[in-house]
Symmetry: C2
Subunit: 734 residues, 2 copies
């Protein structure tokens, strides 16, 4: 069987009995069950007699062999698959070899395509393709070449046809009826979305973007904090063997009607629900607890392949994920099916749990944070996906990039899923259009509101920070391993007239915000940016600035906590409440010494510290505040090395070397490694790495393609999360 396309078409002589139709279980309510499984398909009868019964003739022709020129033109050359893989709305070619020379005038035949369990022409699940000009169906067909018994047929699937795996038959018209070739699994073909064709809903008129958002296998996901942006490489692996079948399995598992699978809006919405396990036993189980005993720690994954293949083979949700894992695997799904997509990271993402645009921070009457009553949380960062498509269901202007998010945050419209929400609509406050635009709007536009709580339970707003949330949105640049700031696609500049108009618009659609016009005050608190490594003892220096001509006295509360990346506090390790006096038009620094042992014992994954200072000015009653999140850097000895000069199909080595930087032993350590086009995901387990000792792991691999190749590796154990690295080597052509 050729790996360049579908297998040759063989003829079948005596017709086999037709397959049994699926059992009808919904008698009385619908005529037939809806086809929701691409993996299931019914046989098309091999012989369909015309009118009066006649003798069953032999088919005068049989066919075989596809054309081999499709993969390059359809941008499917990277798929590791034995089947023909093409994109819709664009011609592909198959070669049919008959048992005698083909005579166009009298030999009538059609190439038929069938998908799902109840194929029907009017539903787009059974499409005959004709080769004569006077008779064409919804898919185009023509004979492009004839040499003796061999006929090459060009077929153009409709640009809105169903995406998935089709059966292919040759149907020959005989005097007594239609004769078809037998079903043959090797002749199955996949039809994908096509961003290169203008009639397709996912058309993206920019080759650099298409190369990045469909063809690129290695990505960068941004995390950390806005003051100290970290990045993580990810192997999307959308072309790896089995990944496309796993993606189709996800839609089958979701019982998604076959007939809806040509519509990128419905496919992406369904997938945003199915990528997480909530509601529907979808792909990934979320876990933010720090305890990953019964699965893989979210920080440990290096790519999507292992996750998708495990889900498809075990048919149970895979443990565990946090937001970037959801976004990364969703990205694989989208790129694999041909929908342009990228992972975006929003810094200080509001986790809105009551549909308004406020993150509430509650202070007591003295200005100290009331932790038991402060319930909203601001994620240090949150990852989602953007995918590119037209939006015929919305008024003109809202096509293009759409936010989809599969992380189960709050339920959005009653299920754990989100989008597609038009980025244009979000930017312009037009959040009345589906799907979930108000939710995404709040993630990037909420205000942080400080309230003072009276003993009787009422809250008085005392300070509003309108710029903290949605500080920046980043994604990877097309064609380069660099960062791209796409904040301006989501919102107008802070303080601009347009921004105000948008917020008013959103308010019309039921997103109220805190409008209390509070006096600016004349005292500021400034917390500096800190760059710290794990284990550092340091000084936290808080500056009090008095811009008035009078003396000011501040009763201040300085608090330091270990937090999760979701902004949720794990434990407070620092608390001080100095009273600071500042001379007119002057400033005072208050320093707090923090010893490493204070925070080390309670550090959680991703090693974030959150400092917040609040206070009340005695003379004016003004409430002051400042916040800062610091991600501690792990100083890790961690080498990744690829042997030089490897060629395609020649063996090479990759070596990982790691030294335990601590005096104590690390237990239960996993190392993972993978690289697109060079090696599938591998992992190795070390039950114990003693303090200050090193390990070496060398693997052999055989590069299958020439060019730059990246290996991504991670190391993970309960005491040390988020260790990862990557290395790019160049493989010369053989």
């Amino acid at each position: 069987m050729s790996s360049e396309g579908a297998a040759p078409i063989s003829s079948s002589l005596p017709p086999a009995p037709p397959g049994h139709p699926p059992k009808v279980t919904n008698r009385g309510r619908s005529a037939v069950p809806i086809s929701t499984l691409n993996s299931q398909s019914s046989d098309v009868p091999e012989f369909e007699p015309f009118g009066a019964p006649g003798p069953r003739g032999f088919p005068p022709m049989s066919g075989e062999g596809p054309d081999e020129s499709n993969k390059q033109e359809h941008h499917t050359m990277l798929f590791n698959s034995d089947h023909l893989l093409v994109r819709r709305g664009q011609e592909f070619k198959i070669k049919i070899v008959f048992n005698r020379p083909y005579v166009p005038a009298t030999d009538l035949f059609a190439v038929e395509f069938v998908i799902g369990s109840s194929p029907q022409y009017s539903k787009g699940t059974h499409i005959p393709v004709f080769t004569t000009k006077d008779r064409q169906s919804s898919w185009g067909g023509r004979v492009t070449d004839t040499v003796d018994n061999a006929v090459t047929v060009g077929i153009t699937p409709a640009a809105n046809c169903i995406v998935g795996k089709y059966q292919m038959y040759i149907a020959v018209k005989t005097p007594f009826g239609i004769r078809r070739t037998r079903r043959d699994k090797s002749r199955e073909l996949y039809i994908l979305f096509n961003p290169w064709v203008s009639d397709d809903a996912v058309f993206l008129d920019d080759e650099a973007e298409r190369q990045e958002c469909v063809m690129t296998e290695i990505g960068i996901i941004y995390h950390g904090t806005i003051d100290d942006i970290s990045e993580r490489n990810w192997n999307y692996g959308q072309f790896n063997y089995g990944v496309l079948d796993a993606c189709l399995y996800i839609l089958d598992r979701a019982d998604m009607p076959i007939t809806s699978r040509g519509d990128p809006i419905r496919v992406t919405r369904k997938a945003s629900a199915m990528l997480n396990s909530r509601d529907d036993d979808g792909v990934l189980v979320g876990n933010w607890s720090g305890d990953y005993t019964y699965g893989v720690a979210p920080t440990s994954w290096t790519g999507s392949t292992e996750i998708l293949l495990t889900y498809a083979s075990s048919q149970t949700p895979v443990c565990y994920a946090q937001c970037w894992v959801y976004a990364a695997v969703f990205n694989t799904f989208l790129r694999c099916l041909g929908i342009p997509s990228r992972v975006a990271t929003n810094y200080f993402s509001a986790h809105d749990n009551d549909g308004n645009l406020k993150m509430d921070i509650i202070l007591d009457e003295g200005g100290r944070i009331d932790r038991s009553r402060t319930r909203d949380s601001i994620w240090n960062y949150h990852c989602w996906n953007e995918c590119y498509m037209s939006r015929p269901d919305l008024p003109t202007g809202f096509g293009g990039w759409q936010v989809v998010d599969s992380t189960p945050q709050e339920t959005s419209d009653g299920m754990y899923r989100c989008g597609p929400a038009s980025v244009q609509a979000i930017k312009h406050g037009q959040i009345c259009f589906p799907f979930d635009a108000p939710f995404v709007f709040a993630e990037i536009n909420s205000d942080v509101v400080f309230y003072t709580r009276d003993k009787d339970g009422t809250l008085v707003p005392v300070k509003v920070n309108r710029t903290h949330i949605g500080r920046a949105v980043f994604t990877k640049s097309p064609g380069a391993m660099t960062r791209r700031d796409i904040t301006d696609q989501y919102k107008f500049p802070e303080g601009s007239k347009e921004e105000r108009t948008v917020l008013e618009k959103a308010e019309e659609f039921g997103c109220p915000r805190e409008k209390a016009d509070l006096p600016a005050g004349d005292v500021d608190l400034v917390l500096p940016i800190l760059e710290l490594s794990v284990g550092d003892s340091f000084e936290l220096s808080l500056e009090f600035v008095n811009r008035s001509g009078q003396r000011r006295t501040v009763d201040a509360y300085i608090s330091g906590s270990v937090v999760y990346y979701t902004g949720v506090t794990s434990s407070e390790f620092l608390f001080k409440n100095p009273t600071v006096t500042i001379a007119p038009n002057n400033s005072v620094k208050e320093s707090v010494a923090v010893e490493s042992k204070k925070y080390m014992k309670s550090l959680v994954e991703q090693a974030n510290l959150h400092f917040i200072a609040t206070g009340k000015v005695q003379e004016t009653g003004q409430i002051v505040s400042a916040m800062r999140v610091v991600t501690l850097i792990w100083v890790i000895l961690w080498f990744l090395q690829v042997s030089a000069g490897g060629k395609v199909n020649e063996e090479m080595t990759v070596a990982v070397e790691f030294t335990n930087p601590f005096t104590f032993s690390l237990e239960g350590v996993y190392i993972r490694m993978e690289g697109p086009g060079i090696m599938l995901p591998m992992s190795k387990y070390y039950s114990l790495i003693p303090g200050n000792s090193s390990l070496n792991w060398t693997e052999f691999f055989v590069p299958q393609r020439a060019g730059s190749r990246t290996v991504i590796a991670s190391l993970d154990c309960a005491a040390l999360r988020q260790v990862n690295g990557s290395l790019t080597a160049h493989t010369p052509a053989p």
Copy 2:
């Protein structure tokens, strides 16, 4: 305890230890679990000290006693409940009796309301109400009267406050802290939506509509066919004991966040998903199979009370429902919570299963229906709900009536639920706005398209019927037991210019329709309206009209089938294919005799026969067709009698008499009976009623209110469904 309002407020002296907070299970992801249970609530501490610890003083005052004048003004007098029941945005009064005379200047107190398990002022789940002008919270408060120790307080909940069950406390400010009364279940109160107040999102400025759509307990649901409309009485029972708690249980069971429960859009959307058991173990299990062995036949129910109380007590879905049962129970839910609502019936409702606007009927090349390929079905009727609310999430103009539908038809946006979809938006083809407007639009605007199928699988449209679907939408008239045609609220007149514009608009938003411009043809088929009783033998007379000046010959196919009300065929009992010749400008009648025994043995519930005639004109190739659905009438001896002259609190009787009209025995017969304000649902089971014999069932009841009272009864067994009746009697005041 008074039935006019909340119980007296009693004081508590030594403070009890505060309740344990709920266990946090989502550590690392959110600060506290979201409150989704109205049935759960946390205690508010009885004593909250001020600043420095001081001696714990006794509260200087204690309170007791509510005011008794709320029920009439809040239109909650019909609720059978021991608790105070009021509507939001409108003042209600409570009376507080202190232990010494109240001194306004120095005695500071608040009435506090708390809902759900994590009360917080900023979330609207903990609301202190103050009585002084200079200090007011989001709910209004004032002292309306003071007599010695007794103070009457008027409280106005915010018009957008959360709807559900609240705890009430009196909080007194002492020099050392806040002291509260102890929690007391009898002081729980319910706050409902308020269509009488203009600030409420469900405000409906029409007293007749409000009386019908909120206060009326007996309804009419239309069914049958457009040519022969039947009606069924239904006891919504929204004020019955336990029904309101059952409705709140539904939202609890759905894990609906407490903070969303003031928003009628979210409440109705969530409820449309929860009324059916699909996805979420909601209230009712759908069953269209004809086999109801393990539950109650959908045709047997007479009201909603039994269903809702069973669901709330068993906590498992109730068996069984079809569309009118879903709509009726949903109606109870909506009216009970105070959202104006009505049940609407759409005749010839398209069951769209692929999101286009076509119902496909596939004919073979000779013009005969290809039943194995005709898969769309047209429901003879379909019931849904309309509810009334503003739509701040949409542009201006789309508030008012909204379609919600809880019948699990096709999944709508991936779940079995539908709406709210603005009726105005549907009428104007503005189907880009949430929720599910394209789905409802298709139900009333689809075309019936006849295709001829070629052997090679392709379909050619041969006839389009643009007027069959969505023939009429009916609901009950306000204040009368008559029918109201509301079709014009859903669409412009067939053939009008506006109608065309709307269909074009809808097409822009991705609802394509068949646009083949087919020649009108000159031969018509006419199937007359038939009125038939079960067991009738009859003549079906099909008229062939030739409007041309030439002879026409039609190869016709006449088919008669037993169908479900969903339009799905159970079995064909009649088939004939005459060839009919018609002289120029003439007509011919073709009669077919149908004997009762042909259809009787295969008759299914609701006794619908579906006749369809199709054919092809030999001379022109024109395809002709005609369709007719007939609901057979059961001639049943069935008497319902109420004893005359009953007075409130005097015993009366209701008698049911039934004679088995058949020669064979009826087995497993259930009779059900209920009447709002006079009797709760009752049922009686008869294992056998011999042929032609009668039964009598007499029940005693005590009317609790004066006025017109209706008893609804139904009889149901496998051989005889859909027997129901009602009787209205007048109960004079005592």
